[in-house]
């Protein structure tokens, strides 16, 4: 069963200028799906629609068989993690540690549980040595890991990453790749918007290509390996 399902979705920022055109798509949890396409083709817009940050002008989006319009952003965030193209947009605290804990504190979770969760997550995303740093002073790769780590507080079952390799050098890309491999082993579904050929080839089970707001290609792994 599809975890995220978009049926006949259209979207525009300005009336009469459709950015997405009658687009249908199913994303499964057991796949790593890459979404590729030229700049301005509507990839980020699609990602924002799938996570409820934008509302379709036409069509329907279902998450886990529920209409996304009946869900709050808070509920969606518990199921799907979203990494912004610019991770600075999702960092809210004055220290790396607090970035991980403040949501748990707001939810009134037990102090001891917060402590152990925090240590686990810091460790998992290789952030232990940075725990006292101010998030905005981190490097691009570290900001991204922190944003991912903070998303993981909710234990989402699916991740949507928007251009996660931009601004990363080869070494940081490898670090990101290894974290993605770990998350994949935990059966977390992924949809990754990316230009990065080597990164896509390395991870994808499926590649969806978008152009001018329409799907122009949808290849599964078997087909790709024959090329």
């Amino acid at each position: 069963m599809a975890f995220i399902k978009a049926s006949n979705v259209s979207f525009n920022y300005k009336e009469g200028e459709n950015v997405l055109n009658n687009l249908s798509l199913e994303l499964n949890k057991d796949k790593f799906t890459s979404i590729i396409g030229p700049n301005g083709s509507g990839k980020t817009t699609l990602g924002k629609l799938l996570i409820g940050l934008l509302k379709p002008v036409k069509g329907k989006i279902l998450i886990n068989d529920r209409d996304i319009l009946t869900m709050t952003l808070g509920e969606i965030g518990q199921l799907i993690g979203y990494l912004f193209q610019n991770p600075e947009k999702q960092l809210f605290s004055t220290s790396v540690e607090e970035e991980i804990t403040f949501i748990m504190k707001l939810k009134g979770m037990d102090k001891k549980i917060i402590e152990t969760e925090k240590e686990k997550i810091l460790d998992k995303f290789s952030l232990k040595h940075l725990r006292k740093e101010f998030p905005f002073n981190l490097s691009q790769g570290e900001k991204q890991r922190l944003a991912l780590a903070s998303i993981f507080v909710n234990k989402p079952r699916f991740l949507i990453l928007d251009e996660p390799t931009t601004g990363l050098d080869i070494k940081r890309k490898e670090i990101l790749s290894s974290h993605i491999d770990i998350l994949r082993k935990e059966k977390i579904g992924m949809a990754v918007i990316s230009h990065d050929k080597s990164f896509i080839t390395k991870h994808s089970d499926r590649i969806i290509e978008i152009n001018r707001g329409e799907i122009v290609g949808d290849r599964k792994k078997q087909i790709r390996s024959k090329n």
Partner: protein, 246 residues
């Protein structure tokens, strides 16, 4: 009367805004404030400002204003009681009027500020320079004016992003909701500082201020209509103040 919107000098518009907003700050009489609000709406309309789109952009601020009014009126407990719970005066007529005055004052400032937005940032900078204001400061002012709408968009984005962390803002207690707002402003403020830094680096690399005298292609000139409006608005402001203070 229809004035072509690009004909007025930005300095004339600045004078208008300055007169209107100073009046709104000085005057404490609700009737006069309403009058000034009506006048500034009319002027803003004549000059072709899009008040409606500005109001749409600052919708979020309205909630903050209302919160301020409620808090303010809670602390004013003289005057006739309007709402009373268990013997506590919640709202008095004086508190209500003070609150309304505050709303009108903010509305006047916002509406009159829309007058400026009918000039391009280039014209505003040029106008300020010719008022003998340093280019750097003039530039910053115009960047600031253009920056405001972006800022409100970023605050909205930030509120959405924090909810995606699995928070139901609407279900939180008031205390926690206030706490959340301190987090929401983090990416907005930090983002602005980073943008400002980038801008200043960009300016340095382009040898901003390399020459003392900047030559301008389109030197602004005040027309008769400009002089009329500038003098008129000063006279009008003085007249209102004189009537009010007598």
């Amino acid at each position: 009367m229809e004035i072509e919107k690009n004909k007025l000098d930005p300095r004339t518009k600045l004078t208008l805004v300055l007169c209107i907003s100073s009046l709104s700050v000085i005057i404490q009489d609700i009737n006069i404030l309403i009058g000034i609000l009506v006048i500034s709406i009319i002027i803003s309309n004549i000059l072709g400002a899009n008040i409606y789109s500005v109001i749409k952009k600052i919708k979020g601020l309205v909630k903050i204003f209302i919160a301020i009014i409620i808090i303010q009126s809670l602390f004013i407990n003289y005057g006739e009681t309007i709402i009373q719970i268990n013997g506590y005066k919640i709202l008095t007529d004086v508190g209500l009027i003070k609150g309304l005055e505050f709303i009108f004052r903010m509305a006047i400032i916002i509406v009159s500020a829309t007058i400026i937005t009918t000039s391009s940032s280039r014209e505003i900078v040029q106008g300020l320079i010719q008022l003998k204001i340093k280019y750097e400061i003039a530039f910053m002012v115009s960047v600031g004016i253009r920056f405001l709408p972006i800022l409100t968009q970023e605050i909205k984005d930030s509120i959405k992003a924090i909810q995606l962390r699995g928070i139901e803002i609407n279900k939180l207690s008031i205390k926690k909701r206030i706490e959340i707002y301190s987090y929401i402003f983090m990416p907005v403020v930090a983002g602005s500082i980073i943008k400002a830094q980038n801008l200043s680096t960009a300016m340095e690399t382009r040898a901003f201020r390399a020459y003392n005298k900047r030559s301008s292609f389109n030197e602004l000139k005040l027309n008769n209509i400009d002089y009329l409006i500038i003098i008129g608005s000063f006279l009008f402001a003085i007249l209102i103040l004189a009537l009010y203070l007598k």
